[in-house]
Symmetry: C2
Subunit: 146 residues, 2 copies
DNA sequence: GACCAATTGTTTGATGTCAACTTGTTTGGG
DNA sequence: CCCAAACAAGTTGACATCAAACAATTGGTC
């Protein structure tokens, strides 16, 4: 009988940039997980490692702002990364409110691996775009999040 | 002394389309919430109402697939929408596994309001894009999310 | 120098989402 | 016919995230 299932209509939803953003992010993040989940690196963790590598000694609040997470979300994440021996919290001597954060040797090593995988992932996930198109896309996206 | 706080460097993070997607979605969804939160409509709820309006009698699983949520996430959401009197679950007579879903009068009314607000929101959030650019952006995003 | 506002990391509670499993129902091949 | 496989909705547990409240600490102002 082949019920001839037409996919349900999405209506005006297709006009909303937010919906397309969500679908795109869903697909890209899923692909990221399949590429880096194996080494225990989620998109959020990867962004933390990158920023930490580039800004040794940064404080938790500044890190949270940089990766656009809540400062309270940072706590359990750094706890976990600390337990894995990837990140060190070092209490500041000059201002006892601050924690300075550093990647350990192991953290740097994992980041190197993660970078290679993330780079490959990025290539695959953007294989449907020319270099020009990708540059264009990033520029357009930055108009919102900038 | 003006500590001349440079914002922390994001490193290679800026090359990753996933990161830009997240920032953009964050900004757009936040704006959406500020425009429709007042009437208790989140992006997910709005997408459900739209698809429900366009596909009366659709089943929960099909709805979940359409809006790209997990089947199991649909349950508490429909419970809540049901309690608000916006959606009706109607057990199928031909296949007792299925629930057919319908917007109530109140659901339709709320959707009308939500649509007006969402449309205004969309205009504001895309005010930084020309019509051409938006069309281009949506086309590029669809290459990922299909 | 003593209060007061701002800042930092943390804790707690609420929410939204997924994945795995359960239960009831249908369907199709032997 | 019958039983196994497929399937729908629901339940449970885990997890990430945010917002609000909190304690400790600093800095500025009178």
């Amino acid at each position: 009988m082949a019920p001839q299932r037409k996919p349900p209509s999405l209506g005006c939803l297709t006009d909303h940039v937010g919906f397309h953003l969500r679908l795109a992010q869903l697909a890209v993040f899923k692909h990221f997980e399949s590429a880096l989940g194996e080494i225990g690196v989620s998109p959020a963790i990867y962004s933390v490692l990158e920023v930490l590598h580039d800004n040794p000694g940064i404080t938790q609040s500044k890190l949270a702002i940089a990766v656009r997470l809540d400062r309270s979300s940072m706590v359990p994440m750094l706890d976990k990364l600390g337990k894995r021996g990837l990140v060190e919290r070092q209490a500041s001597t000059t201002d006892r409110r601050h924690n300075h954060l550093f990647l350990t040797k192991e953290g740097e090593a994992l980041l190197a691996d993660a970078r290679a995988r993330a780079s490959a992932h990025e290539k695959q996930v953007c294989s449907c775009l020319s270099a020009e198109e990708k540059k264009n896309l990033l520029a357009l996206l930055d108009r919102f999040g900038g």
